[in-house]
């Protein structure tokens, strides 16, 4: 089976876990990156993209009331793009391909959130309008609830899988062309960008824990780690 289809199906399963299930963390980029890496056979590249996306999206963990990027689509497209480009082109510039994959993931996350918003709003409206007859039998109402549950889960799966299939194809094409045509300073700039991205994760962690007694623990641990690694 084509890796594009396999990755899209994985995205559908992760959407069920994230939106209908108990949110097992499998949909988080760092874990999705590992899964994508195993599928594409490029664990190192996919996991690095997953890690960078996780660093960036740590910032949205405590935020409320904003339109969040679709992390599942972003993670699968980003990690998948890097893994598939590495796999099919055999390009040795790992850091540049990781940068291209990360950018593809970030853009895909934002695009997917906008594409899926009306589709999920439709499901939301439908579920909000469902009527249950008081004259129905107990078994009938239970069956209706189970059918709604199954239908809603299937809908989540299909929407995410289709969106990821489209965006993964586009992301792969764009990244493949980028690696073919650009070089020199652009590559250096992209690699520098990628190496600076963990700063966003550090800022997010400081933002999450910067209150009361917690900031002392955070600073103390950070300084200790830097000292130990520096002395070593």
């Amino acid at each position: 089976m084509s890796p594009f289809i396999v990755l899209s199906l994985i995205a559908g399963v992760l959407a069920i876990d994230d939106r209908a299930g108990w949110q097992s963390l499998a949909a988080q980029p760092v874990f999705a990156g590992l899964v994508v890496g195993i599928v594409t056979g490029e664990v190192h590249a996919a996991l690095t993209v997953g890690l960078l996306l996780e660093f960036i999206w740590l910032s949205i963990l405590p935020m409320r009331g904003l339109r969040r990027p679709d992390q599942i689509a972003g993670a699968i497209v980003g990690c998948g793009t890097a893994g598939l480009v590495m796999h099919f082109t055999g390009d040795p510039r790992l850091l540049f391909i990781v940068a291209a994959g990360t950018l593809a993931g970030l853009v895909a996350g934002e695009l997917a959130a906008r594409l899926s918003a009306p589709l999920f709003a439709f499901l939301n409206r439908y579920l909000g309008r469902v009527e249950f007859s008081p004259d129905a039998r107990y078994a009938g109402t239970t069956r209706k609830l189970i059918a709604l549950h199954a239908g809603s889960t299937l809908y989540l799966f299909v929407v995410e899988a289709v969106i990821v299939y489209i965006l993964l194809g586009a992301g792969y094409q764009a990244a493949e062309r980028l690696t073919r045509y650009v070089g020199g300073s652009f590559v250096v700039g992209a690699v520098n960008w990628e190496q600076l991205l963990p700063a966003l994760g550090a800022a997010s962690l400081i933002h999450i824990y910067w209150h009361r007694h917690l900031k002392r623990v955070l600073i103390l641990c950070a300084v200790m780690v830097i000292l130990v690694l520096w002395l070593r």
């Binding site: 990156g33 740590l58 934002e110 300073s185 992209a190 960008w193 400081i206 950070a222």
Partner: protein, 246 residues
């Protein structure tokens, strides 16, 4: 006819529905359909009347990890009501409403603000060192915690019934929260240290740019501007900067 009481297997069926509670989330009733679906899994034993499900279709919202406690408690009260004890429908409704808001806040603080960032920080540290076994361990421990908490919630809620209201008013939750958040801050500090230690390895000027970027991102986050857009904009800026200055 005397009805049998809810058994462990009945509550386990409720737990299975509780795992997929969010699947029927909607803006109008929030978790109402998921709640009714979970109650329906054991409702036949308790009452067997369609009205039981319909009563639980009213608006309900709570943290999904704490909802099983309320579902367990509601099943206990419904059982007592069907046995003829002095529990009215409005009592059960009041029980749901009085618990949902405080437990939602507690759940968000413990799981979204405590355990999730903690697990993700550990995962990032293991991913930096490519320790796949560590990643797997974080995944398993996190899921074991969440699933066992939901399973415990159904049984504990059912065992306590009305007493559930008193259980969470003690200091135990605050202590657990302090420990989880302290651990999270410590692990977060370790990750921040690792990030800042790695910057000079790519060149001394990276430490300067990394620090400046951290401060700038913090400024944006304080204004609720997510880092994802900032990261996208930074890509052409970085390419252009390198093109001009390097």
């Amino acid at each position: 006819m005397t009805r049998r009481r809810l058994g462990k297997l009945d509550l386990f069926r409720v737990f299975l529905r509780v795992l997929f509670l969010q699947g029927l989330l909607n803006r109008r009733g929030m978790q109402n359909l998921g709640f009714a679906s979970a109650v329906a899994a054991a409702g036949r034993v308790v009452d067997g009347d369609n009205a039981l499900i319909l009563r639980h279709l009213s608006f309900f919202n709570c943290n999904p990890n704490f909802t099983p406690l309320i579902i367990g408690g509601v099943l206990r009260l419904e059982e007592e009501r069907s046995e003829g004890k002095p529990v009215s429908e409005s009592d059960i409704d009041r029980f749901k409403k009085s618990l949902s808001s405080p437990l939602a806040a507690m759940g968000d603080m413990l799981f979204l603000g405590g355990l999730k960032p903690l697990a993700l920080t550990f995962a990032c540290i293991f991913a930096i060192y490519k320790l796949l076994i560590g990643l797997l361990a974080v995944f398993l421990i996190y899921n074991l915690t969440i699933i066992s908490f939901r399973l415990w919630g159904v049984y504990f809620g059912y065992a306590k019934g009305w007493e559930l209201v008193d259980v969470f008013s003690g200091p135990v939750f605050q202590r657990v929260l302090v420990v989880v958040q302290g651990l999270g801050a410590g692990t977060g500090g370790v990750l921040v240290g690792l990030v800042f230690h790695a910057f000079p390895q790519h060149g001394q000027w990276m430490l300067f740019f990394g620090s400046a970027l951290t401060v700038l991102t913090l400024y944006l986050l304080k204004r609720d501007i997510p880092a994802s857009w900032f990261a996208i904009i930074l890509f052409p800026v970085s390419a252009l900067f390198t093109l001009i200055f390097v």
